[in-house]
Symmetry: C2
Subunit: 229 residues, 2 copies
């Protein structure tokens, strides 16, 4: 059976916006593997209950179930060692791990303050109450108030991107001449934005914007073909 994974979807089932599912999607493209990405909504907890947890991506391959985008990348490298490596040796792996922590502490935070209300607006109707209630509890305020200072959050985002900006001004991808997991991790964050929002994140001429275009071009313009916000 071909690989399949459960993938967070929005109002339009073709709208796929989870940053973590994008990591898995690009990882599968990197490995050159065929797969089906099954649309899943936040409230479909019962559908993935078999995995023993309640978050996507959940990947199924040949009777195995693997959760968590990092663990999935490790699994794919181990199961398909002939295909291009995602994590490589200790160097590529350490770099990807640092970039994962950097993305989750520096990029996701300001992005959420920009996107939270746009995400809500693009959810399947059955997910909206769940999303509003759970996020407003977490944020301690309404979605509207949480996203009321987007310009400031964008400044923080642009500032936080500085080390990456310098690197992608020097070489095409974080991983060098070609993209690998470190690139897919940051790209996941940008796809989270692109799939849900039209708010412009980057200044004209930002080398990160040129990198994002290169990422959208990969695999025959694969990611570019998905619905944007």
């Amino acid at each position: 059976m071909a690989i399949q994974f459960y993938d967070l979807a929005g109002d339009d089932a073709a709208r796929r916006f989870s940053p973590f599912c994008w990591r898995t999607r690009m990882a599968l493209k990197h490995k050159g593997l065929d797969f089906t990405a099954i649309p899943w909504r936040f409230t479909d907890k019962d559908v993935i209950a078999f995995s023993g947890q309640d978050k996507v991506p959940v990947l199924q391959d040949d009777g195995r179930t693997v959760c968590d985008s990092w663990t999935i990348a490790e699994y794919l490298d181990e199961r398909y060692p002939q295909a291009p490596s995602l994590l490589g040796g200790p160097d590529r792996r350490s770099f990807a791990r640092f970039v994962k922590h950097w993305t989750e502490t520096t990029v996701h935070g300001p992005l959420l303050r920009i996107l939270a209300k746009d995400i809500f607006d693009r959810l399947h109707p059955k997910d909206r109450e769940y999303f509003r209630t759970s996020r407003e509890r977490r944020f301690g305020t309404t979605l509207e108030a949480f996203t009321s200072e987007r310009d400031q959050a964008r400044e923080q985002l642009r500032q936080g991107l500085l080390p990456m900006r310098r690197l992608v001004a020097e070489q095409p991808f974080l991983n060098g001449a070609g993209a690998a997991l470190a690139d897919y991790i940051v790209f996941g964050a940008f796809q989270w934005a692109r799939s849900t929002s039209s708010y412009p994140l980057l200044a004209d001429g930002d080398p990160v914007a040129a990198w994002r275009e290169r990422m959208l071009d990969l695999y025959g313009g694969y990611a570019r073909a998905f619905p944007a916000g």
Copy 2:
């Protein structure tokens, strides 16, 4: 002739505090090369004029002159390919480059707001006027005012260290099981602090503090033996 490099020194000639010279020093230890680090002060511009620029480290090896700690690391890997690699292939190199940009944009800034006055106090007397004048022009204020909110700068530093904190909680060094250039680059920043100041930077139990201890232990406690602030 053995390798030598010009190394920023303080009041005590044994006090070596340049974050960039520490990168070179640890790189040389990593390669297992013998070297002499010649004490140099900010106002000794004429001493390194032969290098065509006015900053240290300046390395001399077998009639060659190499400036800039990154270029020196590249040079050492190329000239001494049998010794342990600093930059390895594209993965280790890209990681080190990202960490360099991250350190210079996220770590050095808050550190300077903590250290500037302590550095001044530990300079050779002949450097003090130069340092005060040039830095106060750059900062747009006095050294005393620039370092008047150290506790806030420390909070910013601790916050900025978050991605690194997570990684060194998972593995001993940024580069994995052993240290390499990415580690030396961040360590350079911590040696800048340790050599000039007794202000405590990290909270008790911070995994970054445990990493720093491991770095101080390398090569028989090499860095630990230098004068502290």
